[in-house]
Subunit: 455 residues, 2 copies
């Protein structure tokens, strides 16, 4: 029986439809391997994205392919699994139907694991002019923008414009913001000198702006403090307890009164559930997430579940839910799969209990922080642990090998091979201030001078 037959015939087996191929969705599908169900996984991409390393794709440390894994490959041996590359347009939960770009899909059990999107808190201007980094295409756009602006800085004669091109502001001091600003600090200290000898590293400035009183708010005080110290040592300007008021593509206004002229604003200040429309029975709570009980059941339904960043498990013990990290998503996925199996056997469901394995964040070469339960350490050893954990979490031996080669190579040479502008990023309406006019202005471009001298 080919998997397609599952879909063509309304087979005898109940159908579990999983929306989203992130950590949570994959884990459910894997753990339903032996269950008497048809598993249908939907994702708008044909690959799983290993989000924890997205920032390295953006900073040119590794290639996109190494943190993306074709979903079909992961499940090539799982008989009861079918994948469809499709975006969900609407959930019609009363009818047990998903409306997708490849037609309607019926389900017996629905697992919503669509993850999170960048949250601009309704500020359309910031949304338009700043760079998010939640997907591989977004990370590649960010990489292109960073490198394009360095190239433009090379030929920019107006010192103010040049400064703005070489100023990078990371908004949001969570793990992503910390790791991103750290790698930008390294770009400045180690790479710029070698690859852009014509640019003065001191002219490149990196800011990290965090609204809460400390960076890495979900980590221990100790880890936060150390991370901030690491960043400052690398020349990153870290400020806590301040908020961005506006950004028009040129000037970033902060509520402490500062105005930073920059062409590069990297937005990692918030997330919101990437929730397909359709569920409107008051289950949607703060951050556009689906509130569930300890069994991941979406309020009002017995066959609709939500896990991962799109959901919030609200119990007396967890009024705020769990943090939006991979570990939570993975453990929720495994637990939900077991509960679905229990449902089919009419066994009682088991409530979710999160086991916190701890948190890791890397700031740069030899610099990381680790909170493992009561064991807290920072620096070189934490950095080794970080590398090991992330290498081992990658899907596929080949990816581990290739990421390792990249890391080892750049560790010893600081040469990242992947600092490529594969596609130029063009925001469309706002063009980078092309230096062309400069060539015509009284302060002409270098080559213009040379040229006129010669002419």
């Amino acid at each position: 029986m080919t998997p397609m037959e599952h879909l063509d015939t309304n087979g005898p087996l109940p159908r579990v439809v999983i929306v989203g191929g992130g950590f949570a969705g994959l884990e459910v599908a894997k753990n339903l391997r032996k269950a008497p169900v048809e598993v249908l996984l939907l994702d708008k991409h044909n690959y799983h994205t290993f989000q924890p390393l997205l920032y390295q794709v953006a900073s040119g440390g590794i290639e996109a392919e190494s943190i993306a894994f074709p979903i079909r490959r992961i499940f090539s041996d799982q008989k009861n699994f079918v994948f469809r590359m499709a975006e969900v347009q609407r959930i019609e939960a009363e009818q047990n139907i998903l409306h997708t770009e490849v037609g309607p899909i019926r389900y017996d059990y629905l697992v919503i694991a669509t993850g999170a999107d960048t949250n601009f808190f309704g500020n359309e201007e910031i949304k338009h002019y700043s760079m998010p980094m939640k997907s591989i295409p977004e990370a590649l756009n960010l990489r292109s923008l960073i490198l394009q602006n360095l190239e433009l800085a090379l030929v920019e004669k107006d010192p103010e414009k040049k400064k703005a091109l070489m100023t990078f502001v990371v908004v949001g001091g969570g793990p992503t913001g910390v790791e991103l600003s750290g790698s930008l600090g390294e770009l400045r200290n180690k790479v710029l000198v070698k690859e852009y000898p014509e640019l003065d590293p001191n002219e490149m400035r990196v800011f990290l702006v965090e609204g809460k009183p400390r960076v890495l708010g979900t980590f221990s005080e100790q880890a936060s403090a150390k991370a901030a110290r690491f960043l400052r040592k690398m020349g990153v300007d870290v400020s806590n307890g301040v908020h961005v008021k506006s950004y028009d593509g040129y000037e970033l206004l902060i509520d402490d009164g500062r105005c930073i002229r920059t062409r590069n604003v990297l937005w990692s200040a918030g997330v919101m559930g990437a929730l397909p429309p359709g569920i409107t029975n008051g289950a949607v709570v703060r951050g556009n997430r689906l509130q569930t009980d300890a069994y991941f059941r979406v309020k009002g339904f017995n066959n609709v579940f939500a896990i991962g960043d799109v959901s919030v498990v609200v119990t007396e013990a967890t009024p705020e839910g769990y943090p939006g990290v991979a570990q939570v998503a993975i453990q929720e996925g495994g637990q939900l799969a077991k509960n679905i199996a229990r449902l089919l056997k009419n066994e009682p469901l088991k409530p979710f209990k999160y086991f916190d394995k701890g948190s890791l964040a890397t700031i740069g070469r030899n610099k990381a922080v680790a909170d493992l339960g009561f064991i807290r350490f920072q620096g070189f050893f934490a950095w080794l642990v970080w590398m090991f954990v992330h290498l081992m979490s990658l899907v596929g031996a080949r990816n581990r090998l290739i990421v390792f080669i990249n890391w080892a190579g750049s560790y010893f040479t600081f040469n990242s091979i992947t600092r490529l502008i594969i596609r130029r990023f063009d925001r469309g309406d706002i063009e980078q201030p092309a230096p062309k006019p400069a060539a015509a202005t009284p302060a002409p471009s270098a080559d213009a001078t040379a040229a006129t001298r010669n002419a």
Copy 2:
């Protein structure tokens, strides 16, 4: 003295401006390392593209980063070298000035090495609906289209539409067309079964259409015949001496009367010089190329040179010039650098003599053809030679290592990790025939059926 100063001051050294970072341009710059000149290289990308392996990026065999190498890295140790990422808008040869998107640039010696573009022979419709493959973004678009159409075939219920989605026509039987159709044949025979078990490999058809009497026209008769046999063995429908009349995105008309319904037309049927505007003194000949003498001088100028695919060296011995292959470009680049050095010393120039090291083309696993002078061989050994030569030609040990890992991995498993749709390709105006309507038609989509049964 930083390289930037070269540009700011109209330095004492003569300035050689090289347009294009392909095989030809790189070779000139490298060989001017010790010459008393300023070398300024311009390219619209910040990386060099190893074109011979583009087809493997398109077929998902290797990642784009492995065949792209940052130009700044290649020359990081060359003191008299400066790179600018910029497209040339116009050559003003009478004034010794290039007009670029980053302002005007003066030169003392100009080397035009802008390479070739796809030639659609003025057919706008074919240009619009078929896929070229001369750059990394184009190769990635092609990869996305191939995989998207397989995904669409999975959910397409109309057998005619499904057939068109699974039909691939490669136009042009040069090395690129042969290697591309070969890897499509392999996709069908080896990959489809594993990764798309729901698709019938026999429904996927691959055509190779060549206008000349044989494929690999620049190779020996023996190599051509063997390549065609290899392809046919792999199930590729090879036809020689036929030409494409039209393609409207759905139906491909061939002058032998055939009409092939296909959503995938891969165009490798011709190239033309990618010549920046400005030179209009009759030096532009057939194929939009610059005619030069044996010293690469563009007709009418003593300080403007053209090499590589954008040029044609016309002498009594070579009325048709040399073939547009990497070897010619590389040897021309080396020779031109030497001649520029001679010019500076007022020594007589040496005319170019091409040393043909031979030709290699691969059709698939264990299948390649080699013409090395009078030594001609095909099959497994030729394939080993092909792999060795191409691995060794890659820039950078890391790239060699990573491409090798990919090749070794897929050799033993047939799993290419990089079969990812990183960005969906959307031609914009012509949308893929989305199966959505099908769900509404009397012949409803599988899931629609299931759904209605259930509802």
